[in-house]
Symmetry: C2
C-alpha cells in the first residue's frame, strides 16, 4: 500500500504527484495544509521529524525527500521508465534534479515565502506566531520564517534569487535546444522536477519565463500540461483554491 | 578514456576518488590546486563553467557534480556495485548523499573556508584578491569568499554550522546502530559521501566526532580507512601537503 502526505499540487509535492500519476499507481492521498502549518503538528512530526512534505509511506515504511522518493518510485514501479537507460542521459537528468533542489527551488521558495507570509502571519498574534515558529524542527527553516515575517528579506537577496530563477530557466532553454526533453530524447524525472517548480511561473514571473524570453521552455510547458498525468496531478485538491491565492498578486 | 580533474583528497574530490579506487578503473588524474584558485582559470572554465572540481571527462564528455558523477560511475562500471540493489536501501543511500550535499558539506565548507581564507588571501594585495573574486563564476560562491575575507562570518553562523555537523554525525551514528554501513547491509555511495567529508574530522572537530561522542562512527571510520581503495584515495597527491596545512591549527 502506498500513501502520500502532500500539500497542494505545487513545488515538491507536485513533483511526487507527477511521478505517481505518470506511473498510474494507486495511492492514498493525505492532504497537509501547509498554510495552516499542519506539517509541524506533533502527529505529522511522528511521520517525518523534519516537518516537511511530501512523505511517501510504502507498506508502512517512511521515505522522505521528493527527489529520493521519485527515484525510489521509478525503481519499484519501473514502467513507464522515468530514468533514462543510457548512463549519460541519466546523469543529465540528475544534474537537473540536483540543481532544482539546491538552487532553483530554494530561490523560488524564498521569494514565494516573502510574498505570502504576511497573509498567513497577519491572522496570528505575536505570541501565536512565536508558538508556531517554535514547532519548526529544522533551525534553518525557523530562521527563514522568522526573517521573512520580521524585517523581510532585502531587495538584494530577492534580486539574487530572481537571478537564480532566470539562470535555471536559461539552463532549461539550453537543454531543450538539444532534445525534446530536458535530459535528452526521453521524458524523465528532470522534466518532472523542473515542471513542479515552473508550473505556475509564466503567470507569476512573466519577465523570466515567457514566449519572448524562453520560447522553448514555454513550448515544453505546453507539452507538459497536455500530458494526462500532468493534468491529473495539477487537478489534485488544494487548500489554496478555497483561500485568497496569496501568491497571485 | 576517463579523466578526473580534482583537488587534494578531501571533500567532493575525495568523494569521486573513493569511488574510482573502489571500482579499480584506470583514470588520468589532473590535479587542480584550489588554494591557488586554479579552478577559476579560463582553461578550466572551458571544461566546467561553474569553476568547480571534481569534473569527470569520459571519452571527451564532461560530467560535473560529484554525487552525479558517482551514480554515473556505478552505472557504467557496475562491479563492485556501490548502489544497493534493494530499492529501500538505495533510497536510504540517497537520503545520505543528498544530506551531505545540502547540509553537511556546505556547513563544513563554510567553517573550513573561514578558518583558512586568510592564509591564502594574506599573500595577495586587495587588488589581486578583487581580481581573483571577479573570476568566480557563481555569484553565491563569490559572496562566500568575499564575506569570509572581509568581515568574516559571525559567531552565530559558525555555531549553526557546527550544530549541523553534529546533527550529521548523529544521523550517521543512528544509522550505524541498524547495520554495518550507512544505508544498511551493503557498502555504498552513502559511506563514500560521508567519509569524504568526515575523513579528517576526528582531528579537527574532536568535540563533534570522537570515541566518546560517536563511537559507532569512529569504528566505521576505522573500517573505512582499512579499505585498500580508501587508503589509495587518501594517498593521492595533495598541494596542501607541501604547504602550511592551514586548517590544522
Amino acid at each position: 500500500m502506498l500513501e502520500l502526505y502532500h500539500a497542494e499540487p505545487a513545488s515538491n509535492s507536485l513533483k511526487v504527484l507527477l511521478c505517481l500519476k505518470e506511473k498510474g499507481v494507486d495511492f492514498v492521498s493525505h492532504l497537509i495544509n501547509i498554510q495552516a502549518f499542519e506539517q509541524h503538528d506533533p502527529a505529522f512530526l511522528e511521520i517525518n521529524p523534519d516537518g516537511q512534505v511530501p512523505v511517501l509511506v510504502h507498506d508502512g515504511t517512511v521515505i522522505t525527500e521528493s527527489t529520493v522518493i521519485n527515484e525510489y518510485l521509478d525503481q519499484v514501479f519501473p514502467s513507464p521508465a522515468l530514468r533514462p537507460a543510457a548512463a549519460l542521459e541519466c546523469a543529465r537528468m540528475r544534474i537537473f534534479t540536483k540543481y532544482v533542489d539546491e538552487y532553483f527551488r530554494p530561490s523560488l521558495s524564498q521569494i514565494g515565502w516573502q510574498l505570502m507570509i504576511h497573509t498567513i502571519t497577519d491572522k496570528l498574534s505575536p505570541e501565536e506566531f512565536a508558538a508556531r515558529l517554535a514547532r519548526i524542527p529544522r533551525e534553518e527553516k525557523r530562521e527563514k520564517w522568522r526573517i521573512a515575517a520580521a524585517q523581510g528579506y532585502t531587495a538584494e537577496q530577492m534580486a539574487a534569487w530572481r537571478r537564480t530563477l532566470a539562470e535555471g530557466i536559461g539552463k532549461m532553454e539550453a537543454a531543450l535546444a538539444k532534445g525534446p526533453w530536458l535530459a535528452g530524447p526521453h521524458y524523465s524525472l528532470a522534466d518532472i522536477s523542473c515542471f513542479a517548480m515552473a508550473a505556475h511561473m509564466p503567470a507569476r514571473f512573466g519577465d523570466i519565463m515567457s514566449d519572448t524570453v524562453s520560447p522553448r521552455v514555454m513550448e515544453w510547458h505546453r507539452r507538459m500540461r497536455a500530458r494526462p498525468a500532468v493534468a491529473a496531478a495539477l487537478a489534485m485538491p488544494s487548500p489554496l483554491k478555497a483561500a485568497a491565492r496569496p501568491m497571485r498578486q
